[in-house]
């Protein structure tokens, strides 16, 4: 009898509350650093003197070197501009022979924190990733790994640099070593920000608006996916859940696994430096950060935020912008690899720039 009464009561409550929409059973909105550290971790930059590391130096040189593309006009830095937060500001990047890439070039900063690389996670780490674009016909367009090695060997300065970077290998100039050097350099592309100071206990790192924005970020449920050291980059999620994403042309991880469960599943991008890394999403179709927040709240969290709420979350997200590691990315020998000296292609339009 008691059970029946309880069921009736429960059912009655259910019926009454159905019109209220979903219950927000958590998420915790405790913004004390101690509470936050259960979901987020501060970014620690290794204190090793990386500029003295020959493998890092070699990786940096390779990263900037346009001669390693078929047309000798494209380097890693052409699409991942290190003085523009690792992006080029375009929806799709232009590669070999003016061809456009199929997805928005993600930032290379903090990419070492990701669980895998590329939007669909098809490379398990930075080493595997570094072997992709150089051979991709719409990116750097080199015909084969053997051609890459031939090209590197034709540039005299690389022989001693590879020997220093890989002293234990009799044949130091290999495609694997090329990728390893680029990846080692990329591992150091880290940008701690005021957020990390806050997490470590310095609550004065945020003003009142930023704290309110953080609270709303948590309350909206953003931290379900954007958590951890990178505030993202550590899981795959279906894009457009609960609401179906409008652009269904690119099926994301399905293209890697061919499993139906992976349709429209993408790697969750990091939110570090997010104000600087637009346009947003895998298709780069959203130019403004506020619009991206609005869409995410609707399509991933099932919530419609007001303009004021969107502004508050954006205010918090801007605390995730860290200064660029100017010394680490400095391109010393830049005769043939001068992307960093040029203004990013969209700088004037977007107000992007190094260190701003």
């Amino acid at each position: 009898m008691t059970r029946i009464l309880a069921m009736c009561f429960g059912l009655g409550i259910l019926f009454l509350l159905t019109g209220c929409g979903s219950f927000d059973s958590d998420p915790s909105t405790d913004i004390s650093p101690a509470a936050l550290r259960s979901r987020f971790s501060p970014l620690e930059v290794p204190t090793i003197q990386t500029s003295q590391n020959p493998r890092v130096n070699l990786g940096r040189e390779l990263f900037y070197d346009k001669r390693l593309s078929t047309g000798e006009n494209t380097s890693c830095n052409s699409c991942h501009l290190l003085n523009a937060y690792g992006v080029d500001g375009h929806s799709y990047s232009t590669g070999h022979a003016g061809k456009l890439g199929g997805r928005n070039a993600p930032t290379v900063y903090n990419a070492g924190l990701n669980l895998a690389q590329f939007w669909d996670g098809r490379a398990k780490d930075l080493v595997e990733q570094a072997k992709g674009p150089i051979l991709n016909p719409v990116e750097m367009g080199m015909p084969s790994s053997a051609e890459v090695i031939t090209r590197i060997k034709s540039i005299p300065s690389y022989a001693p640099a590879f020997r220093q970077a890989f002293p234990d290998s009799p044949d130091s100039i290999t495609f694997d070593h090329f990728a390893e050097a680029v990846a080692t350099f990329e591992q150091g592309l880290l940008t701690p920000s005021r957020w990390d100071r806050y997490l470590e206990g310095d609550t004065s790192a945020f003003n009142e608006q930023e704290k309110q924005g953080l609270k709303l970020f948590l309350k909206t449920g953003c931290a379900s996916c954007h958590a951890g050291r990178g505030l993202g980059g550590n899981s795959y999620q279906k894009l457009g859940y609960p609401k179906s994403w409008p652009n269904q042309h690119d099926l994301g991880r399905y293209q890697v696994t061919s499993l139906d469960r992976d349709r429209m599943v993408f790697k969750v991008p990091t939110l570090r430096n997010i104000e600087k890394t637009g346009p947003y999403f895998h298709d780069g179709q959203v130019a403004s950060l506020n619009e991206a927040i609005d869409l995410m709240a609707q399509y991933q969290c099932g919530k419609k935020l007001s303009a004021d709420e969107i502004n508050r979350i954006a205010t918090f997200l801007k605390t995730l912008t860290g200064p660029l590691p100017e010394k680490y990315i400095a391109n010393v020998d830049s005769a043939a690899k001068d992307d960093t000296l040029a203004m990013p292609r969209n700088e004037a339009a977007n107000g992007k720039g190094a260190g701003r």
Binding site: R3, A6, M7, F9, G10, L11, I13, L14, F15, L17, T18, G19, G21, S22, F23, D24, S25, D26, P27, S28, S38, R39, S41, L115, G221, S224, C225, A227, G228, R229, G233, N234, S235, Y236, Q237, Y241, P242, D260, R261, R263, V265, Q300, C301, G302
Partner: protein, 158 residues
């Protein structure tokens, strides 16, 4: 009188049919979109039998690709609440799709689950009266949390 009864019965049947047929999608994943068992938390992390039994009994209805729906999940308006709650639940935690998480995120999800159970926020208060089997004992919560913490200690030691 007889006619009135017939009309009333007819109306009840029609309303019941509309309520059942008109319920929104019950959100049971189609077989081809379900995750293989090898992707589940219990397999990927090698959960012990007690942890498995706890999460299956108390969590899987909302937090997995294998829900067992009660009758009221097919009747409006409760169907819409069930549907919406399940979507929120899956967005936050899906035990069937553990292969989509990095070790860091796996740790966050487990410790979150531990905190939610310890704070008595899960299972949801309004879910419990209709699902007495989902209630968790203090010992079960303690065991789950101890297991989750031990995994993290092992990961950190590596």
């Amino acid at each position: 009188m007889r006619r009135t009864w017939m009309m009333l019965s007819g109306a009840i049947i029609v309303v019941a049919a509309v309520l059942v047929a008109g319920c929104s999608s019950n959100n049971i994943p189609a077989p081809e979109t379900r995750s293989p068992r090898s992707s589940s938390m219990e397999v990927m992390l090698g959960a012990d039998p007690q942890v498995r039994s706890t999460v299956h009994r108390a969590c899987y209805n909302c937090h997995s690709d294998q829900p067992r729906y009660p009758w009221y999940a097919s009747v409006w308006p409760s169907s819409s609440l069930v549907h919406s709650d399940r979507q929120t639940a899956l967005a936050r935690l899906n035990f069937s799709q553990w292969d989509r998480l990095s070790p860091e995120m796996s740790k966050i999800r487990l410790l979150d689950a531990c905190a939610m159970m310890t704070d008595n926020k899960m299972p949801l208060w309004y879910y419990r009266p209709l699902h007495p089997e989902a209630r968790l004992s203090a010992q079960e919560v303690q065991h789950f949390c101890a297991w989750a913490h031990s995994l993290n200690s092992m990961a950190e030691a590596r």
